[in-house]
Amino acid sequence: MATITPLLGNDAGAISESKEAALAALESLHSIRSFEEAVDGLFARGMMHGTMHLSIGQEAVATGVCAALKESDFITSTHRGHSHCIAKGADLTRMMAELLAKQTGYCRGRGGSMHIADAKTGNLGANGIVAGGIPIATGAALAQKMKGLDNVVVSFFGDGATNEGAFHEALNLAAVWQLPVIFVCENNKYGMSNSTEFSMNIGHIAERGAAYGIPAVTVDGNDIDAVYLAAKEAVDRARQGGGPTLIEAETYRHKGHSKSDKNLYRTKEEIEDWKLRDPIGKFEHLCMEKNLLTKEEVDQVNAKVRETIREAIRSASEAPDSSPDELISSVFRVA
């Protein structure tokens, strides 16, 4: 098993105010980055099949949000979901095994990159349907309320997803029922090839919160402290019965939309410009500037994570391929 210890349940103010929190957050950030780079490489070498959507450049959103969650809280995720999965504490070997279509993968090789779920860490599943997870998160939040539990649910989704009816219906339900759900929009400026300027007539997705009468904020999604603090406020409110929040985290994907993307819809300059605002580099710089972490400590985290990912690929590769024997018997759960 190759796991990292993600930063969950942080209660010590901004992440960059505590050495322990900063180290744990850095471990999550680097794990996501290294995992995605490894996937990109395996794909390029033809060792991985299907398709995949990478979160490189967006790591601070998942990490910052999950830092405000407890283990028993839930998330729903998207086609671009590896980061959410890792930040909530998934086993990297089982993730890698899933992508390599192995029997030991999270979905026994039946789901692949777009469908990883992990009941143990409260991950109710990535989704191949844009906006498909948003109403589901709302329902999971309804269940927490009906059962009298104080868990919250986070729904991650993209900017493009907010143009689907499912987003609007789910926000309205959560608002009128005052549910403990936090809607986290990773606004990476594009839904596939369409920019937010092209696909919506407003400047900020957070403006959509007003239509449903719920609090909504826009934060710098490449600033993990900003993401965490916004999430913490929303999570605390939801736990205390204060209802849903919409958080728009502005970020950017460094890679193309998926494997088959020529980046024709954006300029090289824009991509380079956003790389200068890389969330990981930015956070490392801040921690060193504040004398919270030394360069050696940062390098150590990086080296440890890389070894963990190598180990995940090694053991996943050795696992047996997904088995065709149990297909029919797997369609329904046996009571």
């Binding site: 789901g111 469908h115 349907i129 143009n163 369409n194 696909s199 297909l327």
Partner: protein, 329 residues
């Protein structure tokens, strides 16, 4: 004279381009069909040729897009909607099923919806259960929708042009593994009528009836079977609604054996309808053996490549099913 060879995707693009040149009311709308060129590269350079007004790239809003097409069609436009994967027609089902399909009949016949909805369909790309379905029987089950599954580059150009001409909503399901296949396609605008099944190969031992990508797979099987002395007919049910049973019944009368081949799951699949029609008519008396269905398994499409292949009919399975049918097992 040998004809020009182009791919299936190029044939779709050519049909749309020619229809747009011929008729200013034809336009296209869908996600990422502009500069990106479409998720499967089908719209390609149409954006350069016709501009963003008529190659209308849209936000991710399937219900809205299809509804807008229905509305535009009601008042004289001829929209061609591209839904990125046929699975996402689920998002738009109200507009397809409750609106487009019913308007002409329900509202008394004065209004109609001359809309084409194209969608890549089927498995084989490792995209798993929400991007690989074969949902043709959903649409075929709704009175008021015409449904076609073009099986080759030649077929898709001719059927798509007929679909664009048609004053009714037509669902065009394009198998995504066919996009890169090539074949002879005339340059002129020709039409293949909707509602006519196509006998693509004539044999004397058995008839395979197939839809979509299974047509070429059955032709390959027929080729291999002929090497061992088995002579197979293949009928392409290119139009699911309306359905033409003629060539199917003719071939049953000639061969006495029928095999129904589809990628979609067997349970309540389209081939169940064909089996029922055979049983209801005189062709049933010509059968020497029970009808044999070769279909997808009744499971969601899995991700793992070997599993994905295992759940839909492949060449060896079609060949052995034909041999079984001839041996009477």
């Amino acid at each position: 004279m040998s004809q020009r060879v182009i791919t299936y995707a190029e044939a779709v693009r050519e049909a749309i381009g020619q229809a747009m040149e011929a008729d200013p009311s034809v336009f296209m709308l869908g996600e990422d069909i502009g500069i990106y060129g479409g998720a499967f590269g089908v719209s390609g350079d149409l954006i350069q040729r016709f501009g963003p007004e008529r190659i209308r790239d849209t936000p991710i809003s399937e219900l809205g897009i299809v509804g807008a097409a229905v509305g535009a069609a009601l008042v004289g436009m001829k929209p061609i909607v591209e839904i990125q994967f046929s699975d996402f027609t689920a998002q738009a089902m109200d507009q397809i099923v409750n609106q487009a399909a019913k308007i002409h009949f329900m509202l008394g016949g004065e209004l109609s919806v001359p809309m084409v909805l194209r969608a890549p369909t089927g498995s084989g790309t490792g995209a798993a259960a929400q991007h690989s379905q074969s949902l043709e029987s959903w649409f075929a089950h709704v009175p008021g929708l015409k449904v076609v599954m073009p099986s080759s580059p030649y077929e898709v150009k001719g059927l798509l042009l007929s679909a664009i001409d048609d004053p009714n909503p037509v669902i065009v399901l394009e198998h995504k593994l066919l996009y890169k296949t090539s074949g002879e396609v005339p340059e002129e605008m020709y039409r293949i009528p909707i509602g006519v099944s196509n006998l693509v190969r004539e044999g004397k031992d058995l008839v395979m009836v197939a839809t979509g990508i299974m047509v070429s797979r059955c032709l390959e099987a027929a080729q291999e079977l002929s090497a061992i002395g088995i002579d197979v007919s293949v009928v392409d049910v290119r139009s699911l609604t309306p359905l033409d049973m003629g060539p199917i019944e003719d071939q049953i009368r000639k061969t006495g054996r029928v095999m129904l081949v589809q990628e979609a799951p067997k349970h309540v699949g389209y081939m169940a309808e064909i089996a029922a029609r055979i049983s209801e008519g005189p062709a049933i008396y010509s059968l020497l053996e029970p009808i044999k269905r070769v279909c997808g398994m009744d499971v969601p499409i899995p991700y793992a490549p070997q599993l994905e292949k295992a759940v839909v009919p492949q060449l060896p399975g079609i060949i052995s099913a034909a041999q079984e049918l001839l041996r009477g097992v």
